[in-house]
Symmetry: C2
Subunit: 650 residues, 2 copies
Amino acid sequence: MSESHTRELSFIPDWPPGPLDSHRKQSAFDWKQLKLVLEDINSLRLKYKVWKLLESEPLFAKSKTTPSVDEQKKIAAQQMMLIAKLDIVPPEVYAMGYLPRYRFLMSVNEALHAICPSLSVKIAVGVGLFQNALRAMGTEQHSWFYNAAWSREIVTCLAITEVAHGSNTKRIRTTATYDPQNQEFIINTPDFEAAKCWIGNLGKTATTAIVFANLFTPDGQGHGLHGFLVPIRNPLTLQTYPGVLVGDMGEKIGLNAIDNGFVMFTQYRIPRENLLNRTGGVTPEGDYVSVFSEPSKILGAALEGFSAGRLGIMQEATNTLAHSVVIAVRYAAIRKQFGPDKNGPEQPIIEYQLHQWRIFPYLAAACVLKTSVYSLTDLYLKIIEKSQANSNGIDLLSQSVGEIHALVSASKPMYTWTARDAIQEAREACGGHGYLKAANLGELRNNHDACLTYEGDNNVLGQQASNWLLRQWTEGVQSPLVINHCLEWLMCWLMRSIVEDVSLAKQKGACSFEAKNNTQVYKARDLAFIYSEFYAISSFRLSCLKSDVAASVKPVLEQIHRIYGFWVIDRHMVAFYQGSFASGASFAETIRSNLLSSCQTLKSDAVTVADSLAPPDYVLNSVIAKSDGLLYQNLQNEFMTNPGALERAT
Amino acid sequence: MSESHTRELSFIPDWPPGPLDSHRKQSAFDWKQLKLVLEDINSLRLKYKVWKLLESEPLFAKSKTTPSVDEQKKIAAQQMMLIAKLDIVPPEVYAMGYLPRYRFLMSVNEALHAICPSLSVKIAVGVGLFQNALRAMGTEQHSWFYNAAWSREIVTCLAITEVAHGSNTKRIRTTATYDPQNQEFIINTPDFEAAKCWIGNLGKTATTAIVFANLFTPDGQGHGLHGFLVPIRNPLTLQTYPGVLVGDMGEKIGLNAIDNGFVMFTQYRIPRENLLNRTGGVTPEGDYVSVFSEPSKILGAALEGFSAGRLGIMQEATNTLAHSVVIAVRYAAIRKQFGPDKNGPEQPIIEYQLHQWRIFPYLAAACVLKTSVYSLTDLYLKIIEKSQANSNGIDLLSQSVGEIHALVSASKPMYTWTARDAIQEAREACGGHGYLKAANLGELRNNHDACLTYEGDNNVLGQQASNWLLRQWTEGVQSPLVINHCLEWLMCWLMRSIVEDVSLAKQKGACSFEAKNNTQVYKARDLAFIYSEFYAISSFRLSCLKSDVAASVKPVLEQIHRIYGFWVIDRHMVAFYQGSFASGASFAETIRSNLLSSCQTLKSDAVTVADSLAPPDYVLNSVIAKSDGLLYQNLQNEFMTNPGALERAT
């Protein structure tokens, strides 16, 4: 590493010496150099700063036992206030341009998520999503709320989902009926099935909600979903207002520090001005006025701002994936079991081909997805920035929104499922010790699990992406992203085959809804997956080709690329045979033996690649994978210091 | 159903009427009739009795919030005492023959596991495994311990695993050195890596452990692993004895009501008689005496008694699988989202092909594995019974042990992985509501997770099974179980292909350890999996063919058989192409379209099949899948009654 680079990266602490050194020394490259390929240096600098700051705050100390759900919620609420005080996001950030500002906020979110996932959701929902929604749907008259959320004067939330309707937002049943006499909207929940639910921050703390409800004018005309600023609790006393029945949803699988809540409104009145009226408003007399010919389409485009939430989830999922695989690789490098000679030394489990095959594809995936989520975020932010700079922004946005929406919709499931599988494989690959809370894999899994179904259910999102792709096929457009021969063929084959299936089903009398549903299994679902994998691998390749990539890391990047690519092809192997791209044993055997030999090659670099994915120990928080490699000494310390571990039963 | 059957099954309560009725009425068979095919009536009777008894005990009330880990441990210890008092296993059981006795104990274990998994492990470890070990390795002189464990006079545990060695038991480093002067064994732990760990019941409560240690005679000669009865704590005060450092391992992913512990011994002395001396003993003077020429082999055969533990896990995993899929099916029958007509009624999500394909194979697998684990247990118990009836029992045992060991070793991973995947699919298929603790899927997952690595790590067990199979191939023996053409071909192809790979690798200079390790991925691992799937599907088929199966359930059994079979073949599809069993699109397409159409056919019976897998609501314990089908009313009740849900934050 050049001296200037060394200086530049001095904010990243070196690892402590220990038993992992013998593994680290096998690598011909420096882990920090690889880290620079995988992550943006400014983002890294910010993340390390946040981690350093919070590591010394008692309120952010890791607890050995899980506090009660109530206690967790209290701690998160206090943390949220402390974060504001610590000035982690200084006011200058809001003077930045759109792209750098967003990057800044996203990096802070990543840093917080890695140590307190619930807190990151609380802030994302209570500040980020709320402000995004206001910006997309509100006007000047709502700026007080915008600023009050920032300063924590109000605690906010976003109420879209209802008990009986999540994915199908068109069936939301909460109403907002305008009363011209009092110039108020009357918010009403017809029954429990229409109660807003799963709303983060609402259970115990939110004082203001943006509620999505169907707007009705006095003439009885419905105008579709609109957002309304609805007071829920008195900000001073946290007492709820009459007409609002609000409660906490109780314990969940994870993320228990977030107070997910439900709320029902009984003829609850709010001022006319609380309607978010960027796309359409109501005059004092009760006439609906919209500047757009198709307000619902525009609302859709405006709501697209929420895609930022999905990108945030993908960034978080990538970190979760990275942390899981770092734990598994470090453990595998130290843990020994069996060996060729019954009475000779045992070998580290990282030596076993089966173990490499179980873990290394996720190690490669973590690298690939780190670079890919960065470039996808870039693409997304630039589109939004362009729309905001332009007076005709919303129209512009709805033009470019198609592909980016498809790409994000396909990628969020792929990222979150890959992380889900990586956590589970890591947990099993660490044996019993992986079952300890102190190994942190259980927490990673239980917190990550929500990502699979929130901000768009993975299966539903995948369908949206494949639908968009199929429209492109039908319109004769081929994705410009297709560069890899196998995957290109696979995508084309799937698209052609789905289009044929659909038209055949229609010929046989199926309606279009049914015909489409019956191409999901094996076809459309896979198409969306491959599309996102394809984008990921392509953007990883571009990152590797950048001129500032150190020559020393190029060989390992090549191995990572190969492992991820072969692994992706292997998982879709049947389709290659089905579509006669391949026949006989040789294709599968070539791909698989290449995958296995690349794993074998990566072995001597695996610990170092893991190092470049690894956050500091405080953040990784796993007793079985500390950077010092002192596996058993750390376990011993853990056992001996568990509260009351050595005490007598009472 | 005939009247006599109706009477006979009256101990199983009928379901309450509700919105699931319209689904139930679509089935042409009675769910209780199907239940009779899937489960043994005596076992069912016992389980319903236990559930009825415990449902009314306040100590067994389900809590809405997770108690602290300490509290959980206390409750489980109290429950363990209560179970003894309630006389659920009356003394007469111990007068029964081996097979009925074991069946009885296993059914009680299943019943307890379904409501309190930690408690079932506590009893299995503290009573069942302990007594098994004494029976297998001890002699008359240890009968006091046998009875004291039964009466709960002593709390016991089994200490095999050490911090640095789990799977490779040959590398256990705890020593037991005989001192002829005092006629005592000196138990010693050389360092923390050799501390016994993960020992259930040891953390807080065990008073006596069976410790596995290497026996050394005064001449310095080592005689390998032996079991020793080692006092840990004073049974009256629970104070630990000097020379014993024992502690609790702290919080885990699940099963937190079990106090997993670690222990280190410092030159700790126990009487000579505490050696479990069935296979070999030490004279007062210090000479090692064994009646067998190969004591280590014999010990292995005796340890085989632990296979009962693996069968227990498979029974539990099958129930976990069944409960998950019942939750997913009932939820999918009630939950509506989207529909063919934008403004028309929405359809239940069970109507979607993608949803059927995600869930129904697990519904079928639950049925198949229920019958299969029963017949496998039968096979196992009969072999052990035979060995016990015969004076030359141990020799007999080691003869028949090969195949049953291979079958159990292959099946434990297959069962537990199938359950793992089913829980996860069910959790995602229930969307956000599946993330609620009250849905019970999180608890199922976190408790089940331990099964994947304990009682033999799944990946290691699979290797033992494939090793055995390959020896049979090499010896020219073909498994008599092979009846299904595709799977038969697949197993043969894999076996031949592995043997070829191994011999090729050896020719190229690899040692046998390395050559074998490098056939695990794609080959040996799959072989073990398919072997167990094959046994499962074959024994299911035999259960369906029994003369007392009601004619009305035969068609649905046929569908279950088809779905499971096609699903298994589909998951191994690549190998069929690789081995040229198939080429081109038609094989994959035929299997897959058959799988999808069978799912479609099963749809109208899915709720009823789920009913026959379902335990009472108290046991299923899921707010989103009660048998009354009142999804939203039950959720409403849950939200409104969560402790403090409606209270103000403090």
